[in-house]
């Protein structure tokens, strides 16, 4: 494109030739990209299919076997479902608590990390890359890794899961928060600085009021994600509803009614929290737009 304007093409023929050239290049580029993508997808699928115990071609008709098995048993014992729901409710509360506490702790830690790694706000600018890396690493480690290691040290239960999720949340929110921070105005911070305010005062009074609504909105989104994460961690011994679900699912025939009850509980919770937090987030970001 640059050469086009540089030469200031005079004749139509010239433009035609150049455009045709461009089109050809685009077509080749696009074609290669598309071919590459298709090839990658196909090869990837073939490899995965090959390394899987059952193949896609054989298995796809059986997708509903397992749900059917669970549902038929749950259907037979439908009368017991309410009792199960009540029985497993405390486990659900534990899962929610894991997610809630982890989100809170993670958000607090993430706020700190993000402030420490935003230019203009960081008290030690030289350490910004360090804190950035810390966030990257916190974000990169899957929760399950930290949880399993902590379960080894602390024993099973909700705390390892909470810490694991909190660490990951701190990294993830830290990154989002620092993007928000970048867009915040530094003028109030400088103004406060000129009055002799300490770092904590500058951040609390100068930055947080600007970024607060966005922070809360991101934290809510994270809470949704963390509920799932905390349910998953139950699968590896971190307590809560995931633990109960795993036990009844892996027992199989005979406890599928419990599995179904737990599943309903979990699913309804996730959907409800999704909807509520979605509405809240909408209000927050909307109100923010009006305010700013």
């Amino acid at each position: 494109m640059a050469d086009l304007t540089a030469q200031a093409p005079g004749s139509v023929a010239e433009i035609q030739a150049q455009y045709a050239d461009l089109t050809r290049r685009k077509r080749i580029y696009g074609g290669v990209l598309l071919a590459l993508f298709i090839a990658l997808m196909m090869a990837g699928f073939r490899t995965a299919d090959d390394r899987n115990a059952g193949s896609f071609a054989d298995g796809y008709q059986r997708i509903f076997d397992y749900p059917a098995e669970v549902l038929s048993e749950a259907g037979e014992k439908v009368a017991e479902l309410p009792a199960h729901v009540v029985h497993f409710f405390p486990a659900l509360v534990e899962t929610l608590n894991i997610a809630g506490a982890a989100t809170l702790l993670g958000a607090i830690l993430g706020t700190l990390l993000s402030l420490l790694s935003t230019r203009g706000m960081a008290p030690w600018p030289a350490l910004i890359p360090v804190f950035r890396r810390v966030m990257d690493i916190c974000r990169a480690i899957p929760e399950i890794v930290i949880a399993l290691v902590l379960i080894f040290l602390l024993g099973g239960g909700p705390v390892p899961a909470m810490i694991a999720i909190a660490i990951h949340t701190a990294g993830a929110l830290g990154k989002l928060f620092s993007e928000v921070n970048e867009n915040a105005s530094l003028k109030p911070v400088e103004g406060l600085n000129s009055t002799g305010a300490s770092w904590a005062q500058r951040m609390w009074l100068g930055v947080i009021p600007q970024v607060g609504p966005n922070y809360v909105s991101y934290a809510l989104l994270r809470f949704e994600i963390n509920i799932r994460a905390s349910a998953i961690l139950g699968f590896v011994g971190a307590g809560g509803i995931g633990y109960e679900l795993k036990n009844s699912m892996s027992w199989g025939q005979g406890k599928y009614d419990e599995a179904a009850a737990i599943f309903i509980l979990l699913f309804v919770t996730i959907v409800v929290v999704d909807q509520i937090s979605g509405a809240l987030r909408d209000r927050l970001t909307h109100g923010n737009r009006k305010g700013a």
Partner: protein, 280 residues
């Protein structure tokens, strides 16, 4: 009827890759014998292998007795037991042992009353099924949390039970052992022995508080839908392995033992009944 590949599922207890490694010779022999591509799969837990057998994506596996019972209860037509491992002493069986920390003051099952008791995996015979039936017989109560024991938990597996007891997360737990050799070594084989060998626990710190009746060793099962000749060939291969290649047998059977011996479904009916008992 032809098969295009043969898939062997391997249960947990070791690193996934260690499991694959120790069964690699079996895979090679099978491939040579059947003339089709043979693959090994080492899912994360009992349930993974069982689902594979039920769904027809795994052709052969060496299950625990309770795992077989689960498979049978889900679908009686899915698999058939063909062989069972025979110990060096000629018997086939092992034990579920209950244990606790020595410094906790617990010396017998009765001392655990009101405290926290831990099982392993719900699909484990020695880690759950048998103790969950035999212990209440001894205590005269149930295994419900709060009835006899203060709380009853699943730790997820034998290894986790041992660590949980050693850490004091639970007051007592059950795991498996062959019952041969000495307590201070963690017996000749079993989960305790592995933990000792890994330097994870010191047997001096633990006491045995309970032992089950002998538990039948789990069967090697084949998918019923397999062609007859494949079943015959695989049974023969497994049975003749100690004689043909002891090293390979040693790693497949995870230790010294006499060999495989034919077995039928009837041997597991007790276990199946037990399992039914535990379902609701």
């Amino acid at each position: 009827e032809e098969i295009s590949e043969f898939r062997i599922g391997i249960l947990g207890g070791e690193n996934a890759q260690d499991r694959l490694n120790s069964n690699e010779c079996l895979r090679a022999k099978t491939e040579e014998l059947l003339g089709v591509e043979t693959k090994l799969f080492a899912p994360a837990d009992y349930n993974g292998v069982i689902q594979g057998l039920l769904g027809g994506t795994i052709d052969m596996a060496w299950l625990g007795a309770s795992g077989y019972a689960k498979t049978y209860l889900s679908d009686p037509e899915a698999v058939e037991p063909v062989l069972v491992k025979v110990n060096v002493d000629g018997g086939y069986g092992y034990y579920s042992v209950g244990f606790a920390r020595k410094d906790s003051g617990i010396n017998a099952l009765e001392d655990v009353k009101g405290k926290v008791f831990g099982f392993g995996d719900p699909n484990s015979t020695s880690g759950f099924l048998i103790p969950s039936i035999e212990i209440p017989q001894q205590t005269g109560s149930t295994m419900q949390s709060g009835e006899y024991f203060g709380e009853v938990k699943f730790t997820g597996g034998h290894e986790q039970t041992i660590v949980a007891v050693a850490n004091g997360d639970i007051d007592a737990g059950v795991t498996w052992a062959d019952g041969l050799g000495n307590w201070e070594d963690g017996y000749n084989s079993g989960a305790l022995r592995k933990a000792v060998d890994a330097g994870l626990i010191d047997m001096n710190d633990l006491v045995q508080i309970w032992q089950s009746k002998p538990i039948p060793e789990g069967p090697v099962v084949l998918r019923k839908a397999l062609p007859e000749d494949v079943k015959v060939k695989m049974t023969a291969l497994m049975a003749s392995m100690p004689a043909m290649d002891y090293d390979c047998y040693y790693s497949v059977a995870a230790g010294d033992s006499k060999g495989f011996q034919p077995i039928t479904h009837e041997a597991y009916e007790v276990i199946i009944e037990a399992r039914k008992l535990k379902s609701n």
